[in-house]
Each structure stands twice: as C-alpha cells, then as structure tokens.
Subunit: 134 residues, 4 copies
Amino acid sequence: VTVAADMVRTYSTDLCSIDQARLSACVEACLACAQACTACADACLSEDSATGPATWVRTKLDCADICVATAQVLSRHNGYDTNATRALLEACVRICKRCADECERHASTHAHCRVCAEQCRRCEQACRDLLIHL
Amino acid sequence: VTVAADMVRTYSTDLCSIDQARLSACVEACLACAQACTACADACLSEDSATGPATWVRTKLDCADICVATAQVLSRHNGYDTNATRALLEACVRICKRCADECERHASTHAHCRVCAEQCRRCEQACRDLLIHL
Amino acid sequence: VTVAADMVRTYSTDLCSIDQARLSACVEACLACAQACTACADACLSEDSATGPATWVRTKLDCADICVATAQVLSRHNGYDTNATRALLEACVRICKRCADECERHASTHAHCRVCAEQCRRCEQACRDLLIHL
Amino acid sequence: VTVAADMVRTYSTDLCSIDQARLSACVEACLACAQACTACADACLSEDSATGPATWVRTKLDCADICVATAQVLSRHNGYDTNATRALLEACVRICKRCADECERHASTHAHCRVCAEQCRRCEQACRDLLIHL
C-alpha cells in the first residue's frame, strides 16, 4: 500500500466517478518517473559520449517537469477540471513514450537508462489507463 | 525587453520553425500567471466567506502547477517534442480559461481575483497564439 | 527496493562521500511527503470547519513545494553544491516539522491529516539523517 | 509595475512585518532566474565543447528548481514560517551565487551564459536583501 493510495482512501467528496486504484497508481507512477528522469538526465551528463546526449537529456527534463505537474494535479482529487486533466494526461503519455523510446536504445550500455525506460513505460501505461476511465 | 526574450535571442539551433516573439511572450505569460494564481489562492484562503472558496483555490493551484511546467518545457527551445508540447499547451489553455472564468466572477469584490483573472486570460491567449503557430 | 535506490545504484561518479541508502531514503521521503501534503491540502479545503483551515493549507502547500525541490536537487547525485544542499535540507526539516506539528493536532478527526503527519515526520527525520552524514 | 507587486498590493493580512517592495522584487527575480537557468542549461547542452558542460548544466538545473520553490513560497504572503523561509532563501542565495560564478566564466563566449549570470546575480542580491529585512 502506497502513500498515494492511503490518501485517496482517506477522503472522497466527489471521487465517485474516478477509479481510485487507477488514480493512485498513476500518481505513484508519475512521481517515480519524474525522479528516474531527473537522475537519469544527471547520469547522462556524466557520460563522455562524443555524440553528446543533448536531446535525450532535454527529453528527460521535459518528462520530469510534466510528470511532477501531473502528479500534483491528480493529487487534488476533488473538483477536477476534466478537460485540463485530460490534456495534461495526454501530454504525459506523449513525453513518457518519447523518453522511453530514447532510453530503451541506450538500455544495454547504460543501466540508468534501463531503469528510466522502465519507469517511463510504466507511467505512460498508467496515464493511458486513467485516460480511458476518466 | 524581458529575460525570456533575451534568452530566446541568444541561441537558436533549430528554432527556425517557431515564432520567437510568441514563444517568449508565452513563457512570460505562464510565469506571471503561475505567480498570480499562487498568490491569489493564498489571498482567497484568508477571506472569510461562508461559502468557502474550496473549488476556486483548487483551480488556481492546478493552474499554477501547469503554468510552471509549461514555462519550463517552452524554455528548452531546442529539440521540441511537438506532440507533447502541443498537448501541454492545450492543458494550459483549458485550466487558464477555467481559472479566468472563476476569478472574473469575484473580480468586483476581490482585487486579487481581478489581477489573477487578467493574468489567466493573458496566458490563455498567449498559449492559443503559440499553438496556432507551432 | 525503490526506484530512487535503483537509480542511485546505477551510477556514482563522485558519490563516494554520500551515504547511498540515506540519500535514496531521503528522496523517497520527500516525494511521498510532497504528495501527501498536496492531497491533504485539497482534502482540508473540502472540510467545512467554521474556523477555516487557511494556515494549515498554506503550510502544506509550502511543504509540497520545498519537498519537490529537495527531491529534484538530491536526485542529481553528482557534483553537489554542499552549501546550497545543506540549506535546502534545513528548509525541508523546518517546514516538515511545522506541517507535522499542525497535522498531528487534527489527526484524530481527519484521517488525511494523520497520513500527512506521518509522511511529514518521516521526511523531517530522513532530511536530518542526511544532513548529519553530508 | 509587475504582477508580483500588483498581487502584494491587493492583499496583506499580516504582511505588516515584511517589506512589500523587497518581497515582490525577490519573487520577480526568482522567476526570471529560474527561466534563465532553464534556458541556459538547454543552450549549454547544444554547445559542442569537448570538455562538456556537465557540472554547469547541473548547477543551473538545481538553481531553477530552488528558485521556483522560493518564488512559490514567497508568493504565499500570509502566515509565513519564518524559519523555513529563511533557510530556503539561504539555499537560493548559495545556488544563485555558484551559478553566477560559473556562468560569468563563460559570459564572453556564450551570450546565454552572460544573460543567465546577470539574472543569477540579481536573484542572489534580491534574496540577500529580503533576508536582512525578514
């Protein structure tokens, strides 16, 4: 049982229309993904690859920012603006997918990219699941 | 001339496809809107209205989070993921519109809501302008 | 095993001087605390208490912002600015302590305040532990 | 007149003890600095320097995170936790100073580093000014 799930269970004024398990799974996935992306960007900056990891680093930083915002908005369980939340989840799906695609290509050489790719893929899926049931 | 405009002008690897003036106007508008929403939520918490400002406060907090993320992602001018950026701008338009609509209803009684409504409306418009030209 | 711990283990250019277990415990505690504070602030906004929860809500929002920043800075394991990190951890200890103190007073009546108080106390302790070993 | 100054003027329950001009100047400086650091980190990632800008980029990312959190906390004008705010301002002074020191060394070759250094120095000073009068 996670903290997000605990918090969802302790109050629910108008949560009736949202799937509680999917909601807390998505919050957790966003936070774990933000953390993995921030750490992976930092690790990539330390690799001495000639080609330079500029684009991947940028994608990871964008992914971290969008995941944090999504986790925060989803953590306010009451009184959703469904339109804004839906668009934000779409943004999160897209950046997580791109970040996972890029990280997977480096997963065999960089362990941090492997961990990051897993978290991005998990977050992409959690956002898709919530979008379908929103 | 703003800092965001200054930064946009100092580098532009593949900015060719983006309108620089609209980009920096949007970044500025997002930051000003985030600040106004955070301060307005705080001010609303201090009003002793019987009806309670719960929903408006929540909308303002969501708006601040989404505006900060949008400003950050737009501030990385290079190598955009256009799909994710577009969805994020959509989320920003929607939450700014809702926040402006709510704040305008209290603009005559609360000066902080009037300032906040103006910034939300300006940010909504700046995001729409950028979306069209992205 | 958490994602933060996984990421710490996958790279360590100049991590030699930092305790890896304490570092990842602190990152996790900050993220869980930020989430709990955001959700608890939202839940408090929905309670119809005559006295109004303005101050507690504000403290929780501050706590969430400081915890997110701390988690992000700590997630960049390499090349610490020890002075800035130390001051940030101090800020985190202080706001978590204040938030825990306030939440504990409402823990018997509001389940969300009980969960939030636990996470704030855990985060306060994790930051103190890391500060001693930094 | 800035938005932050406008918001400070529109409400002030217990602002009596804080210098309003210094408060809004500090909020503005933090937001401008966060934006400059985010954009400058992105620009640095695009430079093909053999030595690699890993450490500077990291410092700029830390600086952006701490500046955003400081702007948010300061934007909640009421009911300050002075201890936490003071420590957060200290963290902001330290990271802005370090970031300015690093950026100034590259100001002659990179225009984005020059703009970023100016904003970091301005933010460092604004935080110091507020700390003295808190």
